[in-house]
Symmetry: none
Subunit: 228 residues, 2 copies
DNA sequence: TCGCGAGATTACGCCAGCCTTACAGCGGAA
DNA sequence: TTCCGCTGTAAGGCTGGCGTAATCTCGCGA
């Protein structure tokens, strides 16, 4: 985890770097608003610790710029300005937390970790194939970032296939996944759902194909279209 | 947005409820750890404001239980214990923020909103889908920049759907959001409000659809009209 | 080339879940 | 006081997803 610390007091920033290193974080130290701006344009950090009293500019405006371009990086504001209005302004500008100097390093770390813990940072809970995305958390499929309306059975089939991306899924597995233990399936229900799902996906323009492997099962993969 | 306030001081909790109402939040007030536990098992809130000094138990253990079952609801801890170690413990137990009494209501609201400002919905205090806009600050819906008159329940439903754009919202969530604990909803009220909201939106020309996913919930999305 | 069988496609009836409408109670405004 | 809009309830109608089954298609081996 790499953090950015923007603080012009050299002594304090050294102290921070040391304390954060002990807690298991690497840090980049910067002392001016200009440097911070540049760094935030090009590098992504797990979080930013931002002092407001910088020699060459207002720290708050950095924060506002960051938020203006929809950058969700957690920002913990650090400042000597302890007034209520300062704190409220800081938070309203998009800060995730606000700490008034002097503070205990331990509290800083605790607050930092409270921010890093927040969900939404943690990606990886969604699967992609071409322009098709499946959000495992909400069991929600999207094509080209457009959320799709699928029935619950269709969603179940798609979920299994996506989770097994790159592997073949047997019909029995699909059956178990859909019907669970109550599986009295006296029909070709699985085939029907695969069919319905295929139709949905192609209607909605997903560049994805569900291949049939005879006698084995199904396999989902990116659609390869031969050039004409 | 419905919040849960767990605070045994009746005077303070009344004050909080009033202040939060002014800021546009509905609140459920509870005074004991037992009640809070029960409520958090069955109802989902946008955030929880939790006092630690409860008569019948330790507030921190409620917090830990919540996190133990992976509930990501933002929790803002409120307490008279101002010691560093208390604050660090609170945050380490999974609190998202920590405020020491006495505090200014304004700071509470600012910190609360910093927490509510979560994935997707960055600072931009308004949400858009097609020509429909929802201003989170004043809870005001507009279509083609024309402010719309919606009843408070309709607004509540729309707010939840808009905040959850791209995700399916279950009927239970809508119910919690509208009624909170006060709700002995022995009817299909949610369906009725969704219906009324749909009517409003389509009458006013919003290019937005509220999809029904049977057995799951509702999903708001831009209206796609199939080309012939 | 033919025949077989796995899988694809289509059609259909059922029914839980949802939609729609109507209505009565409530509370604020005039 | 009356009026009127919002609210929650209830009843009944409707429909889309479900599972089944009949039929069609096509890959593959003989």
């Amino acid at each position: 985890m790499r953090l950015l610390v923007v603080e012009d007091n050299a002594l304090l920033s050294q102290l921070l770097a040391k304390g954060l290193a002990t807690a298991g974080y690497e840090t980049d130290l910067l002392a001016t608003a200009a440097e911070a701006r540049a760094a935030l344009m090009t590098t992504s950090y797990a979080a930013v610790i931002l002092d407001l009293g910088l020699p060459d500019g207002d720290g708050l405006s950095i924060l506002r710029e960051l938020r203006h371009r929809k950058d969700p990086t957690p920002v913990l504001v650090l400042t000597a300005r302890g007034g209520l209005q300062d704190r409220v302004n800081g938070l309203r500008s998009g800060a995730d937390d606000y700490l008034v100097k002097p503070f205990a390093l331990e509290e800083l770390v605790a607050r930092l970790e409270a921010q890093l813990r927040r969900p939404g940072q943690q990606l990886g809970s969604s699967l992609h194939i071409a322009n098709l995305e499946f959000d495992l958390r909400n069991r929600q499929a999207s094509i080209d970032d457009q959320p799709q309306v699928l029935s619950s059975r269709e969603t179940a089939v798609l979920e299994l296939l996506m989770r097994s991306k790159g592997r073949v899924v047997s019909k029995k597995q699909v059956e178990d996944h859909i019907f669970g233990l109550s599986g009295d399936v006296a029909s070709n229900a699985v085939e029907v759902y695969v069919h319905r799902l295929r139709k949905q996906l192609s209607d909605k323009g997903a560049k994805v194909r569900i291949h049939t492997i005879r006698g084995v099962g199904y396999l989902i993969a990116e659609e390869k279209r031969d050039p004409v």
